[in-house]
Symmetry: C2
Subunit: 194 residues, 2 copies
Amino acid sequence: MIDPASVLEAIATLRETRRFLDTPVPDEALAQVLEAATMASSLNNAQPWRFLVLREPSIRRALGDLIDAVSDELYGKESHSITGERTPLRDVPVLVVVCRRPLPTDAEWPSSVPAAPVYAAAQNLVLAARALGLGTRPIVLHRRRDATVRAMLGLPDDVEPCVIVPVGWPETGFGPLFRRPWESVVTYDRWSPA
Amino acid sequence: MIDPASVLEAIATLRETRRFLDTPVPDEALAQVLEAATMASSLNNAQPWRFLVLREPSIRRALGDLIDAVSDELYGKESHSITGERTPLRDVPVLVVVCRRPLPTDAEWPSSVPAAPVYAAAQNLVLAARALGLGTRPIVLHRRRDATVRAMLGLPDDVEPCVIVPVGWPETGFGPLFRRPWESVVTYDRWSPA
């Protein structure tokens, strides 16, 4: 039996985690989160996702420092004082690189379509983590350095590292999100530029 | 208090709905589902999603018939006998077009990145629906007819109709999904072509 309120609350309190404890993530919890990710829908059930799970310190350091540097470059180090000091990504116990493998039919679609199931899988991943009390945040900043990331992780050129998700226990908990009222982003029956 | 098992079970039983009852979807349930969609994360909290909710019969008929025709063209009408006769999309009580509005920074990213939050929002939408017992399935087939869809819905050229989600009460329930074992799509610390 599913408690609907639990699902809605998990979705509505999935605050991005910026400060992580260094407590390890149990293998069983990580397995549950990864399995949930694979439950997303995909066209013809092609399941084009692959998950690269980084736990070894040297690779977390290399990739984590790269992403933190991109963040500082885009937003400035001073942004830390606004959003609160974040845990360096190298120190988060697990980094999951959510990848897309190519399919022969990809070129038949507008460019974002083949990645759609992979982003859905990443959303399942962060929601399952939140249900278990694990903190995450979806990162795309590494996409400013695709060539470097590919070289670092040994990714083939045709594999897209869509999202990177740090996973660990949050220093503080979860809470309400700041979003526009849903009514302001919904129109009925025909588009209107609201 | 969130029951973690409810969230994991909702994710693991989100079978795509192909046969819908014609029972109306209550406004309150639709509101909960749409609000959940808006809870996804987005870079700089830009929330680039817009939801076009189609309930008026003539527009559902036009868009639904278009999508069903693309499906028959790609898979053949005989596919119905394999997957079971599906409800014509025109007869599903609600069709939600999950759209992306452009941001000035879109061109700075690889092509699928700006749509990432929109696909995450669509996943929240289908999960919230499943929690409430409402059936859905994410559709991208309309992307073979972007120009026609834009004209039909009055979408500006720069708005991407990422996913269409029919929403209604399922004729049969939910159940386990058929996916590769999660271990077969996970590698550790470095890519390996599994």
